[in-house]
Amino acid sequence: MNDGPGDHDVTRLIAAWRSGDEGAREALVERVYANVRAIAAQSLRQMPGATLSATDLAHEALIRLLGTDAAWSDRRHFFHVAAQATRQILVDAARQRLASKRGGGAEKVELDAALGVAANDGDTELVRIDDALRDLQQSDARRAQMIELVYFGGLSRIEVAQALQVSEGTVDRDLRLARAWLRSALEA
């Protein structure tokens, strides 16, 4: 995607999205989604000796899509998209694994138990986080977005402050509260 007219394509899509075109946003998410997936699939071969985290995925997607010298305003929008896309990819994959585990029949469940695979593993947790985050989005969009940017987008608190145009102190306070809220929602 980074060699060809795709670059301009993305810039154009971002511009359209900034002017309120929701369709452009969808197209952009689709792009990023495909790209992040490709990175993930190739990472074992191409990145020996390192496990990519969600942060790495997002940052790498950014560099591939925009190049390193993209304007900050573009980056900012991109971060939103990348964080959403990463979240979507990870949660979809977790849902898929859970579904195939449930549908896999008794034999597989036994095997899992035999091999010490906890029934309530990270996949379930990830799906619950996604659900809780969706609830938070309904009632408290800014704090939900902060969580998304930090955890799925890999942004630092300074970057979050810039992206949302608030002070760093606000980021710290909002994050603390949102994190506590999520935790208590997960434990409920």
């Binding site: 074992l44 020996p48 000796g49 906890a118 990270g122 603390r176 935790r183 208590s184």
Partner: protein, 919 residues
């Protein structure tokens, strides 16, 4: 919870979160909030105070699993499909990539990528785990790292159901549940005796196979995962399962065998009552049994919060269950009464600590510390004479002592309880700590001290690395410093010698000797150190004669010297005994070994390194004297001590395993010997020993064992490997290692039918032996005997008999009359008699040989060969009945130990064919 609530709670949340709990409660009570909001605020504050970050963990988990997709191969295993993921990584079902076996295995891909150091530790751990061999433990079959460096394990796949499901569906009677559990305790006891703690015993880790066998999974894997994460300790989470993990485990304190006992106790309660403890309210499909007071007492004792109050071992736990089953009074129940309990605990705690390995482990350290302390004191004493210089020395010695004590305390906060902290852990911790220091006056001596300790452990690679750093620019200013440096240089020389750098080693030893001569000309102990060190380097360079002479002098002086340090005495005795045994003087070797062992045992516990060293010396003396069975017993004792107390790997272990292989080979268990040699080879690589001579010896030994088993072709390949190694290091024709390996190759050539090459090589070797060692030497006698064997295989009595007479004469000068070689000489005489058609003469010699082997309780293989040869003679004389009886007794041992092409077995099989005993 709506957004407006969150916004209204935000300021309270920010203000209250930094207060301490008491103040916070007060403040919350004062707020004018409705009860629901108040509860929400309290929940938020509690969540804020909790540790960890479940969001980050779940996301990292998801991201990591995006990668695990696609078919891949791990070593010999091909992944069939992913089974799922747990705390330790992803698990796959796998099969053999070459399709050779139907067997399915479980391949675990451990999470994260360890550092190189952690990878090395992982490999070490894996070796220990692979050594667990118990019918109730799912075996670790294989392991390795992917091309990217991610570690994986292949484990025995157990076809069955999880323990609790088995109990739920079959609802076995109490007796049967306890039988299942006792088998688990057996497995745990086995692992604990190998110093492996499970660390994560829980229902999912116990399976009941379709044949009813209970199997424990993932033994020690938790530890392995932690070993792999060593480098990121602060970020890593310990692997354990809430509900089953012991209190000490949840609190991050030292994990011991007692931690497994706790988890087993919880599991037993769940097997019997369907719940883990009184607070466990989960619905369980297990119908609870009614437990009597004894059984409740047993459960309570196993799950005591204080590890010191639990059963001291899995076998004690099992014994109590057995006592209960047999209706005898149970220990745990008696002790539940207050006064007796206290009394027991007081008594028991002492027993526990005394039995605890850590004490033994620590012992090795205490000696080193003691030495450091002595140094500090000595330096302080001389401070009165040479204030300035010595004060510097004293403070340095004290500083390093403090440093070591700190490092040890940091690595083992609970040493007395922890059976798992090994010397190695302590050293690694000390080394890591040292890397943070930059003051060369402290760092260099500490590097040298650590180099000694690593050398003691057998990790030559790390030892040399530290020593090279530690001796850089060293130049002593006074006597104390010179002696200390000389000792360091001796160790340096020894490690260089082991590594194979003989020239550098001699230079280092000479440097140490010069410093001692210059700074302490009147100190006899110090001169002894120089002599011993030089002797060992001479031995390394192949000059055993000079080495023995130096050591004999040193030993004579050491015995007479008051205040002789025990470690030096041991080293001299051990080296002398070993060299004498190699030179063929078994009696002198045994005398030295026994004398020094008695002296050391009077002063040190059996677990001391000195005892282990001398045990090995004694074993080698016994082996040289022809008593392989006693040698095996002694070596196994030494290995058990070494494993338990010091380190399950390293060069010491390599030497011991190698010696054991030779003893087992001498006992005729050739295949076992070949396995042991391969194990010894692994220890060798693990310890970083890559001296050409050592590796060549190892190749040569393997070849000799393969020859014994009759695999001549493969044996010859290994000899060639050995010569290539020696050529590469320019180790010449007169070097004893090359001569020894050539001698063995000649024997194999003879057996493989390459008589001309064998004859040429042996004649040449005997010429060299006459020149270098003299005609009275063991080497010359051995070569003469081999020429006899060759003549026998070539059916040449005319050249063979005079050689046999000479061999017999020379051997009588070297070995006691009951040495088995003289019985083998009778076999040779019988063969020559047959070549000449003298059936009666052959029968006479072989009967004498058979009787001799029987009387000596000789190894079955020697006796069986002699019997089969006598059978052939009796058959030729027409006595089919005796021939048959003899052969029936001989064949099983021959067939078990040897391949069909081995010449004794081949001959026996021919006779069997004639007697109709084939198949």
């Amino acid at each position: 919870m709506s957004a407006s609530t969150l916004d209204t709670l935000a300021p309270h949340f920010e203000r209250l979160r930094t207060l301490d709990p008491a103040q916070r409660a007060e403040e919350i009570a004062r707020l004018s909030l409705d009860p629901a909001s108040r509860a929400r605020l309290e929940r938020l504050l509690a969540a804020d105070a909790a540790d960890g970050d479940p969001l980050a963990e779940a996301i990292a988990h998801g991201a990591a699993r995006l990668h695990g997709e696609g078919p891949r191969e791990f070593g010999a295993w091909r992944l069939v499909r992913e089974l799922g993921a747990g705390g330790m990584g992803t698990v796959f079902l796998a099969e053999r990539a070459d399709g050779q076996f139907e067997r399915a295995v479980a391949v675990k891909l451990l999470r994260g990528f360890p550092t190189r150091d952690a990878t090395r530790r992982l490999r070490q751990e894996r070796q220990i785990l692979a050594g667990l061999d118990h019918p109730n433990i799912a075996r670790l079959l294989d392991g390795g790292e992917t091309a990217e460096g991610q570690p994986w394990l292949a484990l025995e796949y157990v076809d069955g159901v999880p323990l609790l499901e088995h109990v739920a569906t079959h609802a076995p009677a109490l007796r049967d549940r306890l039988a299942l559990f006792e088998a688990m305790l057996d497995a745990v006891a086995h692992a604990h005796s190998h110093l492996v703690v499970h660390r994560d015993i829980k229902p999912a880790n116990v399976m009941v196979a379709t044949d009813g066998t209970v199997k424990l999974l993932d033994f020690g894997i938790a530890r392995l995962v932690e070993a792999g994460e060593e480098s990121q300790r602060e970020t890593s989470t310990r692997v354990f399962s809430r509900g089953y993990a012991s209190p000490e485990q949840e609190q991050g304190r030292a994990i011991t065998t007692a931690s497994d006992i706790y988890s087993l106790g919880v599991l037993l309660r769940e097997m019997l009552e369907g719940r883990r403890d009184a607070t466990d309210v989960r619905a369980s499909p297990i119908a609870p049994l009614r437990l009597d007071a004894d059984l409740r007492g047993i459960l309570a004792k196993a799950t005591e919060p204080d590890p010191a109050h639990r059963y001291a071992s899995a076998s004690e736990f099992r014994d109590d269950l057995r006592r209960h089953r047999e209706g005898r009074p149970v220990r745990a129940a008696r002790w539940t009464h207050g006064y007796r309990l206290r009394k027991f605990v007081a008594r028991h705690r002492v027993g526990f600590v005394a039995a605890s390995l850590a004490v033994l482990v620590a012992a090795a350290f205490v000696w080193r510390l003691e030495r450091e302390r002595t140094r500090a004191r000595a330096a302080e004493a001389s401070a009165q004479q040479a204030l300035v210089a010595a004060e510097r020395e004293a403070s340095r010695a004290r500083a390093s002592l403090d440093f070591l004590s700190d490092a040890i305390a940091a690595a083992a906060p609970d040493v007395a309880m922890s059976r798992e902290v090994s010397v190695r852990d302590l050293l690694d911790a000390a080394r890591a700590k040292l890397e943070q220091r930059s003051d060369p006056a402290l760092v260099r001596p500490m590097q040298r001290l650590l180099a000694h300790l690593y050398g003691d452990l057998g990790d030559i690679r790390t030892g040399l690395q530290l020593m090279r750093e530690g001796v850089r620019d060293a130049a002593p200013a006074d006597r104390a410093e010179a002696l200390r440096l000389a000792e360091d240089y001796d160790e340096y020389a020894s490690q260089l010698g082991i590594k194979g750098d003989v020239g550098e080693a001699l230079a280092a030893a000479q440097r140490a000797a010069d410093w001692r001569a210059q700074f302490a000309p009147d100190d006899r102990v110090e001169q002894l150190r120089s002599r011993q060190s030089l002797a060992l380097v001479h031995h390394r360079s192949g000059d055993d004669e000079r080495a023995i002479a130096l050591l004999r002098e040193a030993m004579a002086e050491a015995k007479a010297l008051p205040g002789m340090p025990l470690d030096l005495y041991t080293n001299i005795a051990q080296a002398l005994a070993a060299l004498l045994a190699t030179a063929g003087d078994a009696d002198a070797s045994l005398a030295i070994a026994e004398e020094s062992l008695a002296r050391v045992d009077a002063l040190r516990p059996k677990e001391s390194p000195e005892h282990v060293l001398l045990l090995r010396a004694k074993a080698n003396a016994k082996s040289a004297g022809g008593d392989a069975a006693e040698s095996e017993r002694l070596l196994r004792e030494a290995i058990a001590l070494q494993q338990r107390v010091v380190d399950p790997g390293g060069s010491r272990m390599m030497e011991l395993t190698n010696d054991l292989a030779i003893a087992v080979n001498d006992l005729g268990r050739y295949r076992e010997a070949a396995d042991l040699l391969r194990e010894s080879d692994r220890h060798m690589t693990g310890a970083g020993i890559d001296g050409a001579a050592d590796r060549a010896i190892s190749e040569g030994n393997l070849a000799a064992v393969l020859e014994n088993a009759g695999d001549y072709a493969v044996a010859l390949v290994h000899y060639d490997n050995a010569f290539a190694l020696l050529d590469g290091a320019a180790i010449g024709a007169d070097h004893q290692v090359r001569r020894r390996i050539e001698r063995e190759q000649a024997r194999t050539l003879g057996l493989a039918g390459e008589h001309a090459r064998a004859l040429e090589r042996l004649t040449d070797l005997r010429g060299r032996a006459a020149r270098i060692d003299g005609e009275d030497s063991g080497e010359y006698a051995m070569l003469t005997w081999q020429l006899v064997v060759l003549a026998r295989n070539m059916h040449r009595p005319d050249t063979g008999l005079p050689l046999l007479d000479e061999a017999e004469r020379r051997w009588h000068g070297l070995a006691p009359a009951e040495h088995p070689i003289f019985l083998h000489m009778r076999r040779a005489r019988a063969a020559f008699a047959l070549d000449r058609g003298d059936l009666a003469g052959a029968e006479r010699e072989l009967r004498a040989a058979v009787n001799g082997f029987e009387a000596a309780g000789a190894q079955p293989i020697d006796l069986s060969i002699a019997r089969s040869e006598l059978a052939a003679v009796r058959l030729r004389a027409g006595d089919r009945t005796e021939a048959r009886t003899l052969l029936v007794a001989a064949l099983p041992a021959l067939r078990a130990a040897m391949l069909p092409q081995e010449i004794s077995r081949a001959a026996a099989e021919r006779t069997a064919g004639l007697l109709g005993l084939s198949g």
